[in-house]
């Protein structure tokens, strides 16, 4: 089958490939077999991905060793290699460590909440295939497709100390107003909550897709055997959803390590640095202070962290997979 595909491709290929060259003629057959067509089809995409995905890593690694800043941007002659000095000043910057701690807190609070929350909601939504339940899904998915900028603005208004709705609701039950975004401790959780609210929708859809692939007979057999609802969840649903859960875990963890938009719009990282994530720190160093070299050093640290997390998770996944064989 596959060889016949190549044969079929070959006759038409030269016309596309060898411009100006005669398509006919005594070209050896082998020459035709290495058709350029597939390469032409993939090259635009590949060029983009390399130019904006792979190449920048090399550039970042080099720039992180230089004093690249706004004057270097204007005139490359002002750029000098300064060795690891960006990394040294990075590791001695308390704001960098605080942004790392904040990112850690976001991950620790956000990732488990999202996984447990969206899995619970997905299982509940999957309890019935009625039109009503299907309509409900759209509501949960709504935050996931709307712009974070808009969402952050809405929540900023709800959180507002003086005239926000949340403090009004609290006052109805005689709770004193909370400084949602101005207290350095509460603000971290307020920002995390918005991110959880927004990110759950996509994971719910992923879990629903996984749930719908589980044959209904499994549950019927289990309930004939007398297994209760909760028991069915733990003995059928969760084990069969292992792959979806793993996928969501990896993607959620990585995206929370990169949390940016919510703190940027809600608090701009404040009060002081209380809600600054590592991504926001990199952005501020790079584009607010134009310290491109220094910011690149910080971004390389984040890249290393994400690479380690990914490698560990892939490894765990592999081990898990081989255990099951």
């Amino acid at each position: 089958m596959s060889t016949s595909t190549i044969e079929a491709i070959a006759p038409s290929a030269p016309a596309v490939v060898t411009e100006g060259r005669p398509a006919e003629g005594p070209r050896p057959r082998r020459r035709r077999r290495v058709s350029l067509t597939p390469y032409l089809f993939i090259s635009p995409t590949l060029i983009c991905l390399v130019a904006f995905g792979v190449l920048p890593i090399a550039v970042a690694a080099v720039v992180s060793l230089t004093n690249m800043n706004i004057s270097g941007l204007g005139n490359l002659a002002n750029v000098h290699f300064i060795g690891l000095s960006n990394y040294r000043s990075l590791f001695s910057d308390p704001a960098f460590w605080e942004s790392l701690r904040n990112t850690g807190l976001y991950v620790v609070v956000g990732v488990p909440s999202i996984i447990v929350g969206s899995l619970t909601i997905a299982i509940a939504l999957n309890q019935s295939q009625s039109r009503f339940f299907r309509a409900l899904r759209a509501f949960y998915f709504l935050p996931a497709i709307t712009a974070i900028v808009a969402i952050s603005l809405i929540w900023g208004y709800l959180y507002n100390d003086q005239f926000g709705l949340l403090n009004y609701l609290l006052s109805l039950v005689h709770v004193p107003p909370v400084e949602w975004l101005t207290s350095s401790l509460v603000a971290k959780f307020s920002v995390a909550f918005v991110a959880i609210w927004r990110a759950s929708g996509l994971d719910i859809v992923i879990f629903l897709a996984g749930l719908q692939a589980i044959p209904a007979d499994y549950y019927e057999a289990a309930s004939i055997d007398g297994a209760g609802q909760l028991r069915q969840v733990f003995s059928i649903t969760l084990p069969l959803l292992r792959f979806a859960i793993f996928f969501v875990l990896v993607t959620t963890l990585i995206s929370w390590m990169q949390l940016f938009d919510e703190p940027y719009v809600l608090t701009a990282g404040g009060p002081v640095h209380a809600t600054t994530s590592i991504s926001l720190y990199i952005y501020q160093q790079g584009f607010s202070y134009n310290e491109f070299g220094f910011a690149s050093a910080a971004s390389m640290v984040l890249f290393a962290m994400i690479a380690v997390v990914t490698a560990v998770q892939l490894r765990a996944r592999k081990r898990g997979a081989s255990d099951n064989l």
């Binding site: 009503f132 603005l153 984040l302």
Partner: protein
């Protein structure tokens, strides 16, 4: 089914109620956004807050377009979305080649594509800015769309779908003498309508919502997109909730309409990624 239907009902009614409460709470901020956007400024400060304005006004929307430059931002956003649709065809082509051709280096190249999914934007944003700056594409709408023109995930979706196109169909076209480019446009693309719809919706949403690149690449007001314009609304001197909410509505409402119309495609995209 009939035997267990009563038991089902006893279970689904409380779950349905709980889910309804959750859905209302989830959607409430959007409701609040819409009603506030029609409030006169003084009604957005009142205590207790008014859920629905007693006097509806369009003044915030008018202000967005007259005092602020939201007409231009909207135009820029549409252009950025249109440019990103070019990427749709590039990705479809790549997905097709990875699905239906055998060629040297195919495996490693596909791995290369997939591996770019793991690269965080924070690592690429500064170098990409420097790269685009060196080719004078900063502060242009093309420069805003370019870094996200193609995404590995969408290439992956296209490949997944296009492997299901029967080889016989393609072979028949080639026997008829159709060239590869024509076979692609006249046979492969029409057969790929479902996946084009999926990726089209995803492309529209991510282009419309994209924030970080416009923020970095656009330096002057003339190149701001809606997202950047909206994000600046809360950095104004005087807090103006109805204006902020009107700006947010401008971003959210078109997406919600698109989503409501094409919801099934988005869900299908997730299903197609092989996560079942």
């Amino acid at each position: 089914m009939t035997i267990s239907s009563r038991r089902d009902r006893r279970r689904t009614v409380p779950i349905g109620l709980a889910l309804t409460v959750g859905a209302v709470l989830t959607a409430f901020p959007f409701f609040w956004m819409l009603t506030t956007s029609f409030k006169p400024l003084d009604q957005s400060y009142t205590y207790p807050p008014k859920v629905v304005p007693t006097r509806w006004t369009l003044s915030s929307y008018i202000e967005l377009f007259t005092q602020l430059d939201f007409g231009r931002y909207l135009f820029n956003t549409v252009i950025v979305v249109l440019v990103s649709f070019v990427g749709l065809f590039l990705m479809a082509m790549a997905g097709y080649a990875f699905a239906k051709f055998r060629f040297r280096g195919k495996g490693p190249l596909f791995m290369l594509v997939l591996s770019t999914m793991m690269i965080p934007i924070q690592v690429t944003m500064i170098p990409t800015y420097l790269i685009l700056n060196s080719v004078k594409l900063t502060n242009t709408l093309v420069g805003i769309a370019l870094p996200t023109l193609v995404s590995a995930f969408n290439v992956f979706l296209f490949r997944q779908f296009m492997t299901t196109i029967p080889d016989e169909v393609l072979e028949a076209a080639r026997l008829d003498g159709a060239r590869e480019a024509r076979a692609f446009f006249s046979i492969v693309l029409p057969m790929s309508k479902p996946i084009l719809a999926v990726v089209g919706v995803l492309t529209f949403i991510s282009g419309w919502n994209s924030f970080l690149w416009p923020l970095i690449i656009a330096n002057d007001q003339n190149h701001y997109t809606l997202s950047v314009g909206v994000s600046l609304l809360n950095k104004q001197l005087a807090v103006n909730p109805p204006l902020e909410m009107a700006g947010a509505s401008m971003m959210v409402v078109p997406i919600v309409i698109v989503f409501m119309q094409l919801q099934k495609y988005i869900v299908r995209g997730v299903n197609m990624s092989g996560l079942k």
